[in-house]
Amino acid sequence: MSHFTRVKTSIRDLECLLSALKAMGYEGGKVEQSDKGITIQDYYGSKQKAQVVIRKANLKGEMGRWSDLGFARKEDGTFELIADGFYPDTLESWTSELTQQYALGVVVKTTGYQGYLPVEQQKLQDGSIRLVMRQW
């Protein structure tokens, strides 16, 4: 028996993933990272390996009630999210925020290569993020 759920993502960029986690309040010692993989564990003691890990003690709310969370690098280069699936709505909300923050990081990084810098950022009522980038 396992609480773990695997969620396929198209996240490939480690730097943007870490940036997204940081924006969600997971930074510094709250995020462990190892190319070799770190063992994570759920409520039942089921174990998985992941390259980017947040221990349950560092997860907020229901996300950290039972299990650690991790991102496992797959052969195609994408990361698969391994997280507690006991609260599907909470997990969906968490992944939604991560998706948006990841996209924000990719936009800033990619436009940065072309000389654009963020000059304005605001969260709109509809949940979207408005970003103004200026090329210098």
Partner: protein
């Protein structure tokens, strides 16, 4: 030199809650960005509820 002379361009981008991105003005310079986002955008889908223990 005036600041306006240094400025080359400004783009307004909206990052939606689902991770999709909308460009208010899709300048030619932004095409590589749009392309990159298409490749790395974070769409999620569940693959398994009970993975094998490794």
């Amino acid at each position: 030199m005036e600041l306006e002379d240094i400025l080359k361009g400004e783009v307004e981008i909206f990052i939606n809650p689902d991770g999709s991105v909308t460009f208010a003005d899709l300048a030619k310079d932004m095409l590589p960005v749009a392309d990159a986002l298409g490749k790395v955008g974070g769409q999620f889908c569940k693959t398994s509820d009970k993975p094998d223990e490794k």
